[in-house]
Symmetry: C2
Amino acid sequence: MNNACSQHAHPHRLVQQPLTELTDRLRASSRKVTGQRQAILDVLRRHASPLTNRQIHDALGKADCDLATIYRNMHTLTEMGLVKRFDFGDGSARFELVTDESNHHHHHLVCNRCAIIVEVEDCFPPEYETELARRHGFASVSHRLEFFGLCPRCQKEPAAEPPPPGNAAPASTGATPVLPQQQKRGRKPAKVAP
Amino acid sequence: MNNACSQHAHPHRLVQQPLTELTDRLRASSRKVTGQRQAILDVLRRHASPLTNRQIHDALGKADCDLATIYRNMHTLTEMGLVKRFDFGDGSARFELVTDESNHHHHHLVCNRCAIIVEVEDCFPPEYETELARRHGFASVSHRLEFFGLCPRCQKEPAAEPPPPGNAAPASTGATPVLPQQQKRGRKPAKVAP
DNA sequence: CAAGTCCTGCAATCGGTTTGCAGTCCCGTC
DNA sequence: GACGGGACTGCAAACCGATTGCAGGACTTG
């Protein structure tokens, strides 16, 4: 019993809906319908905004599915077109379930302070892209577009953390805004002599 | 002599132009005009498209400036508005010098195969963003927009590597395209018993 | 030119991601 | 329903971009 889900009696408990489409598409490509895959999709189904691998891992219960398995499956599912991958530039990929409703072209508006994510419809007309491709001789042109700003709640917030001047995107020149990252990296402090 | 640049007799050789603006702006914020900073800006000045920290390091000659110093300085220079940070989603940040000519709002068109970068002017009208901000109650809204496709040269190429189906961005749904990454990660193979 | 800061190189470390390996599970077949 | 092979998983090692403590060196100011 190495398959983590099987450490629990009923890994399939996590699945709430019939997954006929998943089943069909997996089998069609000679892949297998595992409890982990169903559970991952189920987590995504319950969340409106895109999740990181770690968030999926946490939501699943860490014992139910190894993080590496999630990484591997997000690749597979992205390849199969069951999920979409987004990147908000904070260092971790995010994934969103592809459903009939979400399959349309859309982007996101992300709060620079609290990282809340709002789905938005706004985009330029597709002719722009066609023309761009033609002008530069590129083929199969796609784009990535994300919006960043300060959400209503964070605007009222009395600036818990001092507003980093870099985040405000002083002049919109197309440069990449920076999401909040309160990480502790680097070397640990040396131990003091006793 | 720990300052790497000074291991060479004339680190300042790398500097080709007077850097009065850099000097003024650095001193104005009680920072220092170091050979490394001048050299970094000089590298950026000689390159049209955005460079990664590693590319800057390579261009400088690895002995001339430590990679960590480059990371630190790119932060500083970005904060000061002397360079702009871009992110094409391939896992490493890229930096472009802010000059009078490049200070205008612009984006990039990146080849999914060879990663060549073309600067493009195309963007939606600013009213879009204003309206978006108003509708969702967000403030200081900015955006990140990059285009991906297959450059003219790579279209003719007889597909040296089998064209990864994922990269073609099959239907443009706003999802993040994936840049080529031929990395070797993960665990090393176990040594076979002799 | 001396003192105070700011910076740098070095190396350790972090978070995100990938991968080899061996054991497990899924599923078509008998 | 048992069987077998290929797909998949957990585990842990390893990789990568990036960050940071520390001690010594470089810039500035006076």
